[in-house]
């Protein structure tokens, strides 16, 4: 096929092909906003999916226990009575659980911080 020099010149003359100054910076801002939106969207979707799956699993468990195994919560659980020793154990366990949660939260926070700094430097 021919080179079509005249066609190439006509196409070039027909419309200027230069983008305005700052186009790429403007575009990059839009892309970063879009990235943020995408991140939020995927987080929300993840949350929705997890919630639905959890609710579904709980509902399925209750349904199976109630209708297939004729399970009754009132009959199955013995009368609960707390002695003073048991109560102190409960307090200790609660303290450990809160401590664990706080440590996990701190771990998550520092991981995030490290990832942000690492991302910026690369």
């Amino acid at each position: 096929m021919s080179q079509g020099k005249a066609l190439k010149s006509a196409l070039n003359n027909r419309r200027p092909t230069n983008l305005p100054y700052g186009f790429e910076q403007l575009m990059m801002r839009r892309i970063l906003l879009e990235a943020e939106r995408k991140k939020k969207r995927s987080f929300v979707w993840g949350l929705i999916v997890i919630s639905f799956v959890s609710i579904g699993m709980i509902a399925a468990t209750i349904y199976i226990l109630t209708y297939y195994f004729s399970f009754s919560m009132y009959l199955a659980l013995p009368d609960i009575s707390f002695s003073s020793q048991t109560q102190s154990w409960f307090v200790a366990c609660g303290y450990i659980a809160v401590l664990m949660l706080a440590l996990l939260a701190l771990d998550g926070y520092f991981r995030n911080l490290w990832q942000k700094r690492h991302g910026q430097s690369s």
Partner: protein, 185 residues
């Protein structure tokens, strides 16, 4: 292009800033294609932006069955086509026999001459009357110097179809210019 695949992987892994690599590389060629298909500069700029935003959104859907540039051009073409769909320009009806009877050599010689200013002006006017697909064909093939197979992939046509259409567009333009010449005499 390995570096492009690497950039895509990293963007998907959470480094959106790296998308500037694609902006630097492709914003001008994408804009050059779109500006040929839409009537004004503002629309072209906006559609170029839309093209890149769409590409970013769908980046995870990009399969390596074609090059990134082909994929991006396809998005740009479809975006521009959707925008121009309402505004249809009808090319003046040409006699199929006349178009078919022009020898290829005559047309080849005609389009090789880029020194004649008057011819170039006529050609610019004639291009306005082409439909969007035809404009995209000649822009990609002659201006962006894409191969026939790349053009086929972007416009989702077969390579034979692209070759035939390119010949037909050239003949159409030739016939339109000749007709205008006859009218002005």
């Amino acid at each position: 292009m390995t570096d492009e695949a690497d950039y895509i992987r990293r963007i998907l892994d959470g480094e959106p800033k790296l998308f500037s690599f694609f902006l630097e590389r492709y914003s001008r060629p994408i804009y050059s294609l779109i500006i040929q298909l839409v009537p004004n500069h503002e629309d072209a700029e906006e559609l170029t932006q839309d093209t890149f935003v769409k590409a970013f959104r769908k980046l995870d859907a990009f399969k390596n069955d074609c090059s990134f540039s082909t994929w991006l051009y396809r998005i740009a073409y479809n975006t521009a086509i959707s925008a121009t769909r309402k505004r249809r320009i009808v090319f003046p009806v040409l006699d199929e026999n006349v178009v078919g009877n022009i020898p290829d050599e005559t047309i080849d010689a005609f389009f090789e001459n880029d020194d004649n200013e008057e011819l170039l002006q006529r050609l610019e006017q004639a291009i306005d009357y082409l439909n969007s697909e035809e404009k995209a064909l000649i822009t990609l093939y002659y201006m962006e110097e894409k191969s026939v197979s790349d053009v086929a992939s972007i416009l989702e046509l077969s390579t034979d179809n692209v070759k035939v259409k390119l010949f037909r567009v050239r003949k159409k333009l030739y016939e339109w210019i000749k007709r205008k010449d006859d009218e002005s005499r």
